[in-house]
Structures are given as structure tokens and as C-alpha cells.
Symmetry: D2
Subunit: 469 residues, 4 copies
């Protein structure tokens, strides 16, 4: 899957820190390394002795803070930050996170990665009681639930509220005196904790953000945990004990950055294993192995290593591509692909090319890439996909919620092969994927959410139960 123009996007990345003088700058660095998880908007809220300061806007982090004064103004020694992806209709500043709530007597900020499956129902209930929502994001529901909780203590209000929401979520909450971290009961989304040299804690969607701020990895946040970081240190609690790990397998396949470790497993290494396993499962007679840059290069090099074929740069990505060139129509999208991606004639001419891609979602650019390789002189193009057929939508944090958008849900492999004009097309098996990821669990469970491929959702879908999933 050629990443920037695909239709599959992570909903967000989050970062938080408590107890560091340059909380604003650390959060900037952390978010910068999480930019691949969301490019539509970014924001940071800092805590200066209990007073929260905020800035957020649409665009890449570097655009949002192009005026550096915006960042300098966010003083304080604690912060949370967010990078966001959103579907077109919701792409407005009100939805950019962190959401900051200015109550008469307190302030509260919230950053969320994931998707709630009962937020529509909850929102309607709250509106019927006169509640007004400031955003159209599902993330805001939690705040309303906290405010109407009849519990006494704030932490109990939060537990109360967390027990009312369903779905996938990694929440960071910033209050006047703490940074609160919560993960859903299945641990759908990644969330890790690190420690700075000065002993302060940071939390981030991926470990690459811990590296970005020179923090040492401490532990991953586990399903159902509710962690409070404050001047008193880190306190680990649970909002539920009814948990069962079902970590998003697509984080390994596509979303996460290659240098991150997810549940202790390095992503590049896992992808390379996917490529090796794919080479074993679906070998093919070819001259060279080519990966779709950048997301499929690890899998491609694994395929090459296993098959003993040369790994070649048969496609090259233009590194000076801005997002502004993403185009609304198919025709313009093709031109856009040509601007982003080029076949290397001198490499692929007269060659039997094994093209490795990480996944096929809508398949819109796949056909184009095969054509580009043929125009560049490739004799044969064999497509190998380093994950199983993507047939079922996700409801726990990815923005594809319609089966009809997923090519593999209504096309056979042979139909897709023809559509792409490839000489052959094969996918990694689900078992192969599980083995390649190599997550160790105590019982027979894989600990992974593989519903993309088999439709077995680890949790009830609530508001989405009646959709075409």
C-alpha cells in the first residue's frame, strides 16, 4: 500500500509528558515522530502551575507551529499533544485535539486515539438532556460523561465515564495536577510509557516518540489500565478488570513506524518476517524484488532475502511531495501518483518484477503502479501482498467503516489480478501473519485483532452492529 495516497489512515497519535521544563518542545518532538499517524491537524496543551495553555490548528505539525512563537507561548512543565487524521466532512478546527475545556472552576484537556462504538447513542442521550457538544468528534463524549458522573472524586468520575464508553481508545487527560492515561479493555491501540533522564514520565502512541525525546522505554500500557502521572510519580490503577488483549494487527502491517516496538516487537523486523513468510508461502519465478516505498520496503527486503533474489529500487518516491497535491478525482490522483512515485526504468526494464506491497485496501493505486512498471519495460509483474485479504472494516480507530470500500470484500483474487493487470497476485495467509508478528500470549489466543481479514470482531459493535460489516 503506497502510503500517502491510500485510503487507510490511523485516526491519531498522542503524546504526553509530566514534569519537564521544556514540555512544549518535547511534545513537539514526540508528535513530530508520530506525524505518520495523522496529518490533518495537530495541537498541544501545556500545564503551567495548574493553568492550561493551548494551541491547535489544521495541517501538519510543522505548519501548525510554523510561527514558532505559537510553541514558545505554551509554557509549563507538563503537556499533552495530538496529531489527527479525519475524514473530509469533519476536517474542521473544532475537531482538532487536544480538546480544551474551560470550566468556570477548572480546566481539562483531552487527547484521544481510537474510535468509540457507542458514541452516537451516548451523544444523543446527552443532547436530549440539553448538553451541547463543541466538536463533532466522538472523543468529547467522555468529558460529558465525566461531568455528569455522580461520583465524588475526580478519578472515580473518570472511571465511571470510561465504563460507559465502548470501542478502542487510548486517552490522555491533562488536569491541573495530573496526566491521566487510559486504555480500552482490549488494548486495540498502542500506548507506551517512557522515562526521561530527570525521572519524569512520558507517554506516547509509539515507542519511536520515546526515542525522539531520548526517553527510556518503561512499559506498555495494558488493557483496562488507568494510570495517573503527577508530581507524586506514576500510579497504576484499572478502570476495568474485564480485559482481553486484541491488539490491532494493522499497526504491525502498515500503521506503525518501522522503528517502533509494539508490545516488545520491532515493527521493521516483523514486516521483514512477513516478507520472508510470504516468499515461502507464495514463491514465484522472478528476477528482482521491488517494494512499494516506503511502507513495504521492509517486507520486500524480507521477501528478497528469503528467495535469494536481488532487492532492487524499482520504484522511487519523490521526497519533496507536499500533501497539498492530493487530488479529488481519479485522473488527477494518477497524475499525483506520477509526481510522488516513479518506476526506475534502468532497473525494471526487461525484468520479471516481484512487486511487494503491504496491503490492498481500495486498490486504487495498485493498478497504476503495475502499469507504471510495465511502461518502464518490466517483462512480468508479480504482485505479492504481505498481509491477508482486507475484507472487513474497522471500528476501533481506523477510518474505513464501509465494507464496500474494501476491494477484497467483493472481488476474488483472480478478479483483482485482472484489474491490476498483474501476472500473478497472492496474499500472505492469516496464520502466516500471526506467526510473522510473533506475539507471545499465555493461552491459545493470538492477542491480535485480525477482524480485518476474518470478520471476527473482538468486541460487540454497538452503533455499528447493523452496518454492512
Amino acid at each position: 500500500m503506497f502510503n500517502e495516497i491510500s485510503s487507510l489512515h490511523e485516526e491519531c497519535g498522542v503524546f504526553g509528558v509530566w514534569g519537564a521544563d521544556n514540555a512544549n518542545y518535547l511534545t513537539y518532538l514526540g508528535l513530530h515522530s508520530l506525524q505518520h499517524r495523522g496529518q490533518e491537524g495537530a495541537g498541544i496543551v501545556t500545564n503551567e502551575n495548574g493553568k492550561l495553555h493551548s494551541y491547535r490548528n489544521l495541517g501538519l505539525l510543522s505548519q501548525v507551529f510554523a510561527n514558532k512563537q505559537r510553541l514558545y507561548d505554551l509554557v509549563g512543565n507538563a503537556a499533552i499533544g495530538h496529531v489527527r487524521y479525519s475524514t473530509a466532512g469533519e476536517n474542521k478546527i473544532e475537531n482538532v485535539q487536544p480538546l480544551l475545556f474551560d470550566f468556570t472552576d477548572e480546566q481539562f484537556a483531552l487527547a484521544h486515539n481510537g474510535n468509540l462504538t457507542n458514541s452516537i447513542t451516548l451523544k444523543k442521550e446527552l443532547e436530549s438532556k440539553g448538553h451541547i457538544f463543541k466538536s463533532s468528534s466522538d472523543s468529547e463524549v467522555l468529558m460529558h460523561l465525566i461531568k455528569i458522573s455522580t461520583e465524588e472524586k475526580q478519578i472515580d468520575k473518570i472511571k465511571d465515564a470510561l465504563n460507559k464508553i465502548q470501542g478502542g481508545f487510548a486517552y490522555l487527560l491533562l488536569t491541573k495536577d495530573s496526566l491521566i492515561v487510559a486504555l480500552d479493555s482490549h488494548g486495540f491501540r498502542p500506548l507506551s510509557i517512557g522515562k526521561l533522564n530527570n525521572g519524569s514520565y512520558v507517554v506516547a502512541s509509539e515507542t519511536c516518540a520515546l526515542d525522539a525525546v531520548n526517553a527510556e522505554f518503561v512499559r506498555d500500557v495494558l488493557p483496562g489500565e488507568l494510570i495517573t502521572i503527577s508530581d507524586k510519580g506514576m500510579e497504576i490503577d484499572h478502570w476495568t478488570n474485564d480485559t482481553k488483549l486484541a491488539f490491532c494487527s494493522m499497526e504491525f502491517v502498515y500503521f506503525a513506524r518501522a522503528d517502533s516496538d509494539l508490545l516488545g516487537i520491532n515493527v521493521h523486523t516483523a514486516r521483514k518476517r512477513m516478507g520472508k513468510r510470504l516468499a515461502k508461502e507464495q514463491p514465484v519465478d522472478g528476477d528482482i524484488v521491488v517494494g512499494v516505498p516506503n511502507s513495504s520496503l521492509s517486507a520486500a527486503s524480507g521477501f528478497a532475502e528469503e528467495s535469494g533474489l536481488p532487492y532492487e529500487m524499482g520504484l522511487i518516491k519523490n521526497q519533496y511531495m507536499g500533501r497539498e497535491f492530493i487530488q479529488p478525482t481519479q485522473e488527477l490522483r494518477e497524475k499525483s501518483v506520477r509526481q510522488k512515485l516513479a518506476a526506475v526504468k534502468g532497473v525494471v526494464r526487461d525484468k520479471k518484477v516481484i512487486l511487494v506491497d503491504d496491503s490492498i485496501v481500495r486498490g486504487t493505486t495498485c493498478a497504476y503502479i503495475v502499469r507504471m512498471l510495465r511502461e518502464a519495460g518490466a517483462k512480468e509483474v508479480h504482485l505479492r501482498i504481505a498481509s491477508p485479504q482486507f475484507k472487513f472494516p474497522c471500528f476501533f480507530g481506523i477510518d474505513i467503516q464501509k465494507k464496500s470500500e474494501l476491494l477484497a470484500s467483493h472481488k476474488s483474487i483472480e478478479e483483482m489480478r485482472k484489474m491490476f493487470d498483474a501476472d500473478s497476485l497472492e496474499f500472505l495467509s492469516e496464520d502466516g501473519l500471526v506467526d510473522a508478528i510473533g506475539l507471545k500470549t499465555d493461552g491459545p489466543d493470538t492477542g491480535l485483532d485480525l477482524s480485518y481479514f476474518d470478520g471476527n470482531y473482538p468486541a460487540y459493535l454497538y452503533d455499528y452492529a447493523e452496518t454492512d460489516a
Copy 2:
């Protein structure tokens, strides 16, 4: 050499087209694929029935034409364009090309890739006659020489002027009725001609730009050629017959895009051969081979293939890095590197890493990358450079003109190894480089300018003869 923050920059990329309805858009696409040759400024001049229209500004092409109307306004069916790199002091809009000359009775536009070695002398002579220069670019000298030529015909004036300048140059001139192309007598800089479906000619610094506009490669421009493209087709002439090919070897090592063919040789493939040869010349006991992204990945994969070691993604580049983060001080530069480049802990931990870089110029980031790998847990770091020691400045189109800026000119290999804290450091031999490039020439000459490594300049240096070269 980690490309975006290095100190070595190509002076420019040029693109031209004659006879295409969407000359503006084609030139935009062509320049976009040449953006790696210059990121400081960009411009396009179009020809609408003899009337020239121009827009240029500082910044990346996509920034210069962020307001798309700027591009739409450049109507006409012929165009030349330019992307520019410049040293800091000269980074002003007056120097952004193409330069457009509005004479009372004619218009003339000019785009130049290269560096003239006698421009200072020529400029002083012209100023002493009362001439006024509109830019501080050496490129403008040619126009003044054309205007004072006593020849009758314009083409003879141009020949006259070309015979007065020395150095490396690829010139595109746009007049009311033609696109004129000239290459210096050594062919220092690359320049290729292609043909569109409709039979129109395009010319570009690299073949990747021909691919970008779907043009078929026709031929490379040869040393001393003066080519006129007009409604009558392409006419090939010479402004001198005293020519001797000395093509810039650094184009193969670093500058050119991996998918371009230079003198018929694919760049990625040549780089892979450099890596293979390096593995033969300087083998080392290691666990994995890691390339500095993106420019050294080809050489690294060649090294891995030859040595039979796994090629791994031990360094990852953040693709969301804007140029605005380039920093003036060493300390900020290191932070900037951390933002751009990260070591992949999960890959390099406890490994003997063979780190392949394409070249060492100032060496400023090399030490930092080794340190990053060690912090990420690498047991050993063996540095292998896929080109010889870069000891001598360039005067034919690259912006390093001071020997003191070149680390290898005043440090031994062992001194550099210590400085970088590498376990070993070795370079490709000059013979190895020549063989890896594999340019076929009729005689004993290599056809390459290798002066970077041995100081044997293929041409007299004129204004620079007394410098510390």
C-alpha cells in the same frame, strides 16, 4: 551522506519544452522531479506566441506555486524552468532563475545549471564599460556577452558569447521563437533530450524529468553542442569543437536521482555496483548492513548482496520533515538530525552494524549517526563509504569551493574514524568508483571528472586558479 542536511548541493536543475499546450504544467512536473537538485528557489518562464511570462520565487516549487493561479497565468506552449540551490548570502529573489530580460525590442529568458570559472573577471570588465547586473548570479554574464557581440545573427551572437565563458554549464535560453540549449565543452553537467507523444521536444537535467512528463528519451546533449528547438523541429549545431568529456562523477555518487540514467547508465544500478565493489575492496565482519537514507540505500543494498549479509532498516527517515527546520548551529543541527533520522533500536541492538554512506563531505552528521546507532545498542559500527575520499573542491557547478570545508582534505582516514567513533572506516577506491560507474569511452580516458578525489581538474580554473584548491 545524509542528504538534506549535508553541505553538498547541486547548483540547479533545468527543464524546457517547446510546442505543448500545457507547457506550464509540464514544466512544473519536470521541475518537481528535479527538486532534489535545488530547493532554495524555483521559477518558470513561458512563451505565448512570442510574449514571455514569468514567475519565480524563493522556496520549494510547491511553495512558489502554492497559489495555483501563479501557474495558470503562465500561458503559452513553450517554457523553461529552473530549481535553484544557492549559498546563504546569495539567497535572494533576484538570483532565482529563469532570469527574464525585457528589452525594448525583445524578450529573452535564461536558465543555467553549472558554474562559470571566469565570471568574476568578465563581470568586472563589463561593469567597467558601464554594464549593470540585475543579479549576483554568474549566469547573467552570458546575456551581457550576447548583447555586446558584434555578430549579426542571434545564433552567432550566442556562439560568440559561449566561447567567452569558461567552466561547467548547461544553459537553456528561451526566445520569442526558439528554445536554445547549450552544454559546456566538457559536459560536466547532465542534460538530456526527450520527445512527447505529440512530437514536441523537452530537455531536462535528468531523465527522471523526461519520465515525469511521459516523454521518450531521445539523446543526451553532448559537450560543445548548441541545439535549437523551434516550430521547425530540433537543429543540432556546435558552439565549439574543442571538446573532451569529463562528466561529474558526483552526479553518480550522490546528486542524481536513483531513477535517472546518466549517459545511458542507471544511477541506482551504478550505486549498487559501488556498494558491491566496496564490499569486495573493504570487507568486514558484521551482522547487518545499514544504509543512510535515502541517498545511500542503493549502495548499502549492493554491499549487503555482495557480502551475503542481511540488508536492514537500521536508520529511518521522518518523511514529514520540512526544510524550515534546518538550523544554523551545531547543537540545533543535531536536534534537527534527531527529528529527521532515527536509529531503529529493535534492529541494531546488539548487532555489529556495517553502515554504508555514499560520501563524506564536511562529516558533520556522520559522528552523530554513529553515536545514535551506539545509543540504540549497536555493538560495533563499521563505516563504509561508497566513494573515495572527497578532498578537492568543485568549480563546475557545486557550491563547495573551499578545501578547508572538506574533511578528507585535512584528516587521515584514521583521524576521521576516531572523530566519528567508528570501529572501522574505509572508502571505495577511485578505480573502484570508475569501474562501478562503468562508462564506456573510446580512448583511455574515463570520461569522468574525478577531481573531487584526485585534484586533477579537467579544465583551467581561471578566477579560482589561485584559491586553496
Copy 3:
């Protein structure tokens, strides 16, 4: 009072239209003529067949819609718009109006000119019930009150909510099928209705906005009225019958544009009468009469006419002054005044100048203007203020809510005269002001809110009752 740098600012201007194809453009024109009522932010919400579209941002209207596509995108045939002034701390985009509420089952937009005196109490009550506010503007309270009303019909919910708020307000509400207009029970703020050629209704804070869209004046909105404009025409109702007119006298003195008619009285003409009355009440021996541009020119010409002295341009305002030059410190403010305002040496030299200003609030620039005139050679400077001493803060829609900020509240006339270094200083009497405005009422009441001058507030102050008013 030299308007742009003074400390007295109207809270807002509102405009609405129902049933016109180019509702967006009409609202833009209307707001443009109301720009003097607020320069900190602007926004427009349109109604396209029941669907509301919105754009708002900080800055002048022309800056907010500098990208004209922003305006074109606001399709629909009904709209409300708002220009906003705010105090510094609240100057953020969340507070820019119209506020748009996206409920699951309906949309609602709201624009407000005025100030609620019990909003703090109401907001706290609502928050204690779990309500979350999206802005820190008092205007939003109304929406929450509408949502929690137990009435059945929307119009009854609105009446219910209006009966809970206190203070000065002119509200425009845009729903899927109507434009609803409400004025407080004292009619503190101006609000007028006009009719376009096509029979559609428009509503605006001042009649100058009706003129701007070529609408014919129909009537002023009266205290306590609740007017619904829809496809069925205009329906006039009341949300309360307990009304008593107390129209803001400062609208006549300073706020309103000279070409507007307030309650049927032309503002320029009223101001000219203030100047005439002032000349009668406080005559002085002078050579020329000079007004502080632009707000005091009407009064100055009236003073000149009555006194038989020449009306001269002794001060000139730089029309190319942008708001960006307003400065935070006194020193910079003086330099800023010099950039905005200059004394005309050729006019004032050796003259006894009668300087007419409309009012003195903080008095910060007054001293500077007198000094400027003296430096320009004025022999004497007699200051005449065309309104009474401004001693008491306003709580019904102007942003001065601290007595300490009002110079006349703690300085005698003689103290002020010395402070300004004027040869004499006199104010218009309160009776003089009332007579000059000339509002006809049935009973003995003036129909005006004169509390600025005498502290007799026409309504209870609720949350402000304990302030230093």
C-alpha cells in the same frame, strides 16, 4: 475621542437576511458597514435549504474573507453575520460569532450584540448540571437555556430562555427554517429591520447596513420583541411585555456611524446639535474650531457653525493605518498616535484652537493631542467635550466595566485640564445631551440610558451589582 486607539469599544454588530440568493454577499456588505462596531473577529453562517454553513475567524472582515472562496462557499439564501470586539483575554477564535451549534438532529446559529448581566450565575448553574460551554462568551448561555427548556415548541423554548437572561442584548438566531430576532426589554442596543427590492427582510444593528445592501428601512425592533422571519414573511411577537426603553446614549455620542438613523434620528445631525449646544453652554474665545478625526468632526462643525468661527482641519488622520500598529505600552502608543494622527502646522500655528472631542474615557490620547497641537504652534488649546463626564461603567454591551478605568470618575475637570495641559476644558451638560439627541417619548422619561454620566442604571446589575460601579 480619537476612535481607533481609544479604550471604548462597542461589543458587536449583527446582520441577518432571509430569502435572498446572494445572502453571503449581502451579509458581507452589511457587516462591512458595521465594521466600526467590532474589529477583532467576524463570521457568517448561511442557510442552504436548512443546512447551515459557517466561516468565522479573528481579524477584520476583509481579512477573515481575504480568501474569497471562504465567502463563495457559504451558499444559501439566508444568513446571519457578526463583527466582534472583545477584551484581550477573550480574543480567541472560539468566541468569534456567529456561534454554530451542530446537534445530532438540528443546527442552530446565534449572533449577539450586548452583554448579559446574569450570565456568570447561569453558566455556573448549567456547569453544575454537567453542561460544557464551547466558548467563554456570555452569548452561548442562551443556547443552553433553550436546550433545557421543558417547553414543547421551539419558539416557546426561546421565549422561556429569553426570560431567564438579564442585561442588554440584540440576538439573531438562524434555524433551519427561520431567522429569529430578539431585543432586550430596555432596547439598550440598536436593531433595525429593512426590506430588499424582492420583498425579503434584512435586520441589522444600524441602518447604515440597510443602506449598504440597498434595503428600505421598515422599522426599529422594539424592547421585548421576538420577531420571526421565514418564508411566510415577518411575524412580530413579544417574549415579554414588561418593557421600558433605555436606549444607549453612547451610541449617539460615539459608537454609531454618522450616516445611521437611531430611533429615527440621524446620528451626524444629533452630533452636530451636540456641538451647537456645547458652543452655547461653554463658549470660548478662539480663532478656529478643530475636531478630533473622525468621530468628532460632526460635533466640531456644529460648534463652529453655532459660534461663527471657522471650522478647520487642524488634525489629520492617516488613512493608511492598519490596526496591527496598536501598541501595548504608553510610549509605543504615543508613537502610534503620531503615525495615525498629525497636527496641521499650517493651520494651527499661532492660533487659539478650540479642540472638540466627543468624549473622554481613559483620556490616554487627549494629553498627547493637546501636546501635538502646541508643538505645531497653537497659541491656546481649549478642549470642549460634546458629552458629559463619563463616570460610570457600562454593563449592557460595552467593554468598560471598571470605574477605575474612567478618568472622570476620579478626577475633577480642573485636574483633567491640568493633566491634558489644556487652556480650558468643559463638557456638555446631561440636559444638553438629551436635548441634542432629541428623542421624543410619551412620558417624562428620556428613553435613554444615561448611566454613563449619572450612574442611574435602568436595570438591576445582577452579577455586577457588587462591582465598583
Copy 4:
């Protein structure tokens, strides 16, 4: 003439200072007060110990230096600056002044207000010798002439060059060690010298700029003078003794700011006298006198004073109008006028209005203003123009060079009256204008250039001699 949308524009304003620490800021202030003389572009060049620094761009001064760092970077204790008006076709950054010339061995900056009448001929001659112009501005010709002068000393080169150019000009030249000031032999354009508190000299197009920087007026620059200001003080020389004063009468009528003194005469006062004289020459039975804001308010108040009629604000100008709203078509221009200018219904309704305008050039907005007054209820509209019929183009510094653009050149007064739908239309006589200005000269000459009205050009027109003048 309603100023901002009229077709008559001054070509420029210039400002210079030598020997002041904050030369950049003083020049900014000076230019700001000269902004009415040109709004298309602005620039400043400073001298820091002989090294010149420059910034210039299109737009208003406040836009050009919106990023204040641009101004701070212009260090040094001497400077020249320029605000520019240009015709559409030439509105490009290359033409924005001051022009900075970077020669190999020296730097030179130049700012020019005026128009050369033989620049086309000179430019062609220079180009035929191989010279290349960096701008399409006539101002640059002088620099080329200086460079080709065979004189030894720089000041003699400059004299040599000045003697070759014809037309109207006020030149400021900044060199490494001096600020050089030159005025044409007729003194067409205003230029005055002032002195700062610290004894340093400043020079400016109008005295309002001297006031803006708190400088004391010293003297006007006289025709043919060549003044050198340096660390040695001010040295007054002449480049020619063949001089004859013919000061531009339109500076008094329209261009100059009301607070400036031209040749010792205050502009507002002169305009008021024009209005008085007009009232005597062309009395009319009316109720009120209304001026077109802002340029005609002085004349209108003079008319009112003389006629004993009330001076009223019958038209109001929106002070929040940005230039971005100037529109290319007549229809849009009318809408634009409505946004800028409104009739005050409450003032003009049922009144016989005497409308005073300063001049009629193209007459495009005049008809519209009369219509606006009638729509606002004016019973009669009598148009009185405070200058004679404008029939002949200007070639000495104003951008109207085509007779056909001047309404009065091809329409009788009665034709114009009908076109404007005015009840009457009358102009001030030429004698009346001369008397009102009141310039004292030794001989019978008026000392004024009145060619606009009578076609008697004070100098030969050279390149323009054959035009339809």
C-alpha cells in the same frame, strides 16, 4: 475626486535620512506619512558603515513590513525609502524602489519621484550598446548614465547624467558615504529638507513626513539643485543653472496631504481658499454643502464658509476599506464605491445639495455619487469642482498620459452635467486656482505647471511630443 478609486495617482513619495541611529524606523515613519503618494509598493535601503541593506516588496508599507524583522534587519544610520504607484502592467517587484545596484566594487541605491520624458530614447540607445535594464522603470536610466559617464569624480558623473535626462524628477541617491538629492530644472515635484534634534538632515517629498519624524523644516529643494548630505553636513550645489519654477498645480489640488506645506503654503488652507473662490465664482442656491471625502473636505468647508451655508457630512467613507477591493469592471467598481462611500440619508434627504469635488479626471465615480445622493433623497445636486477642467495629460510624474482618458478633454461642461445627472456643474477658473494657491513669484510667471488645464507644457515633451497631448 473620491481619492482611492480615482484614476489619478501620484507616481511616488521619497524619504531619506543621513546620520540617525534608527534610520530604518525614521524612514518607515516618514514613508508611512507619504503612503497617499503611492500604495503599490514600498522599500527601504539603509547604509551600515558603507554597506547597503535593502528590502522592498509590492503592497502598502505596513504589508511590506508586516514581518517586523524585515525592518529590524535594515541596520545602519542612513537610509532612503520609497512608496510607489504604478500602472497595472508594470506592477512587479522589479520596479519597486529604491533600486539597489550591487556592483563588484561599490553599491548604489536610488529612489525617484517623477517621470522622465526622454527615457525611452535613452533606454534604446543604452540597450543598443549592450546595456541590460533590471527594471522597466524609467528611473533606472540615470544609473546607467552615471556608469557610462567619462567624468572622473562620482559627483561629476552624476551631474553629467542629470544633464542628459529630461522631465520631472526628485531623485535620492544613497552611496557608501553620502545621500545625494537632485531636483529637475522646473521643480515639478515637491521636495523638502528638515533637520532632526541631533542635527542630522532628512529629506522628503512632503513636509508631513518631516513632521512625522519630528524634524524641523529647513528649506525646500530648488529647481536644478544637487545637494550632498554626508558626515560633513549638507553641501548645496547645482547640476544646472538653466532653471524655471513650474511646480505641479495638482499637488495643491489633490495629491499632497492637507497638513503639508508646499513652497511654504499649507495645502489645506490653499484648498479652503479654492473652495471659497469657487463659491464666489460659481454661487448656487442650495441648502447644504457636502464634500467628497476625504480629499475634497477642505474645499467644501471653504465653499460653505464663503457661502454661509451649513457644511454637512452628506457622504461618509468607510474607514475599514482595504485596497484589495478595487475592482476591474465598472459594475464591480460601483459596488466597491458603495462599500467605500455612503450617502447620509438623514442629512441629504429633501435637501438641495452642493457637492464639492476637487477635480474630475475620468469622471467614473462622479455619476455614481450623484446617483447615491439622489437615492438618499437629495432634492437637487449641484456639482462644484474646485479646480479647472482637467483636459491635458501630465508627463512629469503622474500616470495619466492619454488625453482620451480625460473626460473634460472631449466633453463640454453641459455634456458632463448630463452624464452625471447633476442639476448644475461648474468649475473653478484657472485664475481662481492660481489666486487661491497664492504662490508669490518675482516676475509675471505663476511658478506653477498648469498644463493640465491649458496644455501649455513648461518643457519640451521629447518622447511624448507626438502623443495625443
